[in-house]
């Protein structure tokens, strides 16, 4: 089974902080990581390959330094990495990102399964996976929490819903987005790390994938950000006073409207 895993480099949430004076995101010391959901997608791909054979290609669209997560993916068992990188992609929203990834997937070709994370933690949109599937004209299922049976002809799996889960069956090719209940990502092996060090990646530009300039980057994005501002500050640090009994008494009074 040939699997393509879409992975994205995102800022680590614990480092993302608003500078209280300037109301801007503080950049100093912000580490980049592989989007956590994508780590679960990668793990699933590697373990499916171990069961069924084939190869795992990781694909990312991003600036040149996104190569770091391709390296990390190789050290965790991926066979091949592709970086789609071009200044012209800057400002892409999920629509333009789906288009660009679809073009790259067509270029890579020969896949049975595409795995994505449920969402990227920087934008939290969860829109790229389904968008990519629509562009490739293949079915998709989101929020997979368990794959019960997998063969080259059919997958049976559990899709997480708000009130429980659905059991669904689908034949390949298909795109799945995954949640973290699916598996526990492995840590890189020593051999993997060695392989990652030597790994070289295919780098594709807008021209290489034959992208239409009107569909990529800012120009290709139907959504446009017109304003960014800090959220309303929360009250915060309103610690109650008095003996514990009194504090609880006060709390129950304050909460009366909700009870």
């Amino acid at each position: 089974m040939n699997i393509i895993v879409c992975i994205k480099q995102v800022p680590d949430a614990k480092d993302v902080r608003l500078d209280p004076e300037t109301n801007t995101l503080a950049r100093e010391g912000v580490q980049s990581i592989m989007n956590p959901y994508d780590q679960h997608a990668l793990e699933e791909a590697v373990s499916l390959r171990e069961q069924l054979g084939g190869k795992v290609t990781v694909l990312t669209m991003g600036p040149p330094q996104a190569e770091e997560i391709l390296k990390q993916a190789i050290s965790c068992g991926a066979d091949k990495g592709v970086l789609v990188s071009d200044r012209a992609f800057a400002g892409a929203d999920t629509w333009a990102t789906s288009y660009t990834l679809a073009k790259a997937v067509e270029k890579i070709g020969d896949f049975d399964l595409i795995l994505c994370g449920k969402q990227a933690i920087d934008g939290d949109t969860a829109q790229v996976g389904p968008g990519l599937a629509i562009r490739l004209d293949i079915p998709f299922v989101t929020c997979i929490q368990n794959i019960r049976e997998a063969s080259e002809s059919e997958l049976v799996m559990e899709r997480m819903m708000d009130d429980g889960y659905d059991v669904v069956a689908v034949s390949c090719p298909v795109l799945l987005t995954v949640v973290k209940d699916l598996n526990t990502p492995r840590v890189p092996s020593l051999k993997g790390k060695m392989k990652a060090k030597k790994a070289e990646f295919t780098v594709l530009s807008a021209e290489d994938i034959g992208a239409d300039a009107a569909c990529i980057g800012l120009a290709g994005s139907p959504t446009q950000v017109v304003d960014v501002f800090p959220p309303k500050p929360r009250g915060g640090r309103a610690i109650l006073n008095g003996s514990m009994e009194e504090q609880i008494e006060q709390l129950v009074e304050k909460l009366a409207v909700y009870l």
Binding site: A13, L25, V168, V226, D227
Partner: protein, 397 residues
């Protein structure tokens, strides 16, 4: 692309101060754009010497905006019931439709929807497009997507809203891509811009550290998924008039490659924590599964649902559907009581838009208190039993 005209730039740094993403910096007296640039244009607006320009913004394809009219709400119906967020969306949808002077329509897709259409009219809809068919009993992205896409193509609404639920966030992106429409995820505020009637869609980004307002200037419909619990439904009014239009499904729409074999509704607890008005969140401070029993009792005394930090889910005390945070669910209940949760940024990202937050923690420096409206510093094993007692006492009297 954001272009800096080095001839004009005076290196004043106003752009740097106004960039929310810290993506522009003055180096050696000139503004330099970094990779974090989202091309939002804030810097272009504030640059007094007009040294900054955005290039490549002009769209080559323009749709005829005038031919799209009306506000639509996708009303989610599953396993015999309407998702509460549907009524919230009709509430905000009504306001948007009135501001635009257009009709509000509801799209109801499912099987055995009974009196639901009348309920939607009573809550604000002028028209209900009802697609009721036994083959739509189970949700599939393909069939639901095809039905909604075809309806939108036929009637051309200018705005389409859906709940940011598991179902909405699954198939709506597919619909938007099929239509070539812009879609904004998980909005918490919607309004109409006065100058041109555009939909202003506001949503949190970067774990809630930044709010962004988004428009879709040249594509239609303007589509958003909206977070449950943040919009208010209208009072039900039985005297409201509306039209129900029954829509037949075609064989083609029902042709799906994905088959639903079984739909399993969770028995334990109420797992749909996004729809709960009150959530009791449990963290590692509960110490064990037994501690968890305590917050279940508290939840019961308040008709609340139970949620958890990732630490607790990883420990296996409760299932993943209950996890709140960056890699779990985002919730916005009226009341969130965090018990033994430290308040790591990844947890706070998922619950900071709750109306009121209470924190119980024995460490007075725990970051959870930074977002709490009421904080109790102490041992939760002491506090919670007293709290339950008082609440039940009050209820009894």
């Amino acid at each position: 692309m954001l272009i800096v005209d080095n001839e004009l730039c005076v290196g004043c740094g106003v752009c740097e101060d106004n960039c929310a993403f810290a993506a522009i910096e003055v180096k050696d007296g000139l503004a330099v754009v970094g990779d974090a640039c989202t091309l939002c244009g804030s810097c272009v607006d504030v640059c007094e010497v007009e040294a900054l320009t955005l290039e490549g913004v002009e769209k080559s394809v323009q749709v005829d905006l005038e031919s799209w009219s009306g506000v639509w709400v996708y009303c989610e119906f599953r396993a015999g019931s309407l998702a509460p967020v549907s009524l919230e969306l009709l509430g905000v949808g009504r306001k948007l439709a009135d501001a635009r002077g257009v009709d509000l329509s509801a799209v109801l897709i499912g099987a055995d929807t009974g009196e639901t259409a009348a309920q939607l009219i009573g809550h604000g809809a002028d028209t209900v497009y009802r697609v009721d068919n036994p083959s739509l009993q189970y949700f599939t992205d393909e069939a639901y997507g095809a039905v909604l896409t075809d309806l939108i193509t036929k009637h051309k609404p200018e705005i389409v809203l859906a709940g940011a639920t598991a179902i909405g966030r699954s198939f709506i992106p597919g619909v938007a891509n099929s239509l070539g429409a812009g879609l904004t995820a998980d909005c918490t505020e919607l309004a109409i811009r006065e100058d041109d009637g555009a939909l202003l869609q506001t949503r949190p980004a970067f774990g809630g550290n930044i709010m962004a307002t988004i428009v879709c200037p040249s594509s239609r419909p303007q589509m958003s998924t909206v977070r449950p619990k943040v919009m208010k439904p209208l009072e039900f009014d039985a005297s409201r008039n509306g039209v129900v239009e029954d829509i037949a499904v075609t064989a083609e729409q029902l042709q799906t490659k994905v088959r639903v074999l079984e739909s399993v509704i969770s028995e334990q607890d109420n797992v749909n924590i996004q729809e709960s008005d009150i959530l009791i969140g449990g963290g590692r401070g509960l110490d064990s599964e037994k501690g968890f029993k305590l917050i279940r009792e508290l939840a019961e005394s308040m008709d609340a649902a139970v949620s958890a930090s990732r630490a607790v889910v990883d420990a296996g005390w409760i299932g993943y559907p209950h996890q709140v945070g960056q890699t779990g669910k985002t919730v916005a209940p009226k009341l969130y009581i965090a018990c033994g949760i430290s308040g790591a940024i990844q947890h706070v990202a998922g619950m900071q838009s709750s109306e009121t937050i209470v924190a119980i923690n024995r460490d007075k420096d725990a970051p959870i208190f930074d977002v709490a409206d009421f904080g109790l510093v102490g041992d939760l094993f002491e506090i919670i039993p007293i709290l339950i007692n008082k609440i039940e006492g009050n209820r009894g009297s």
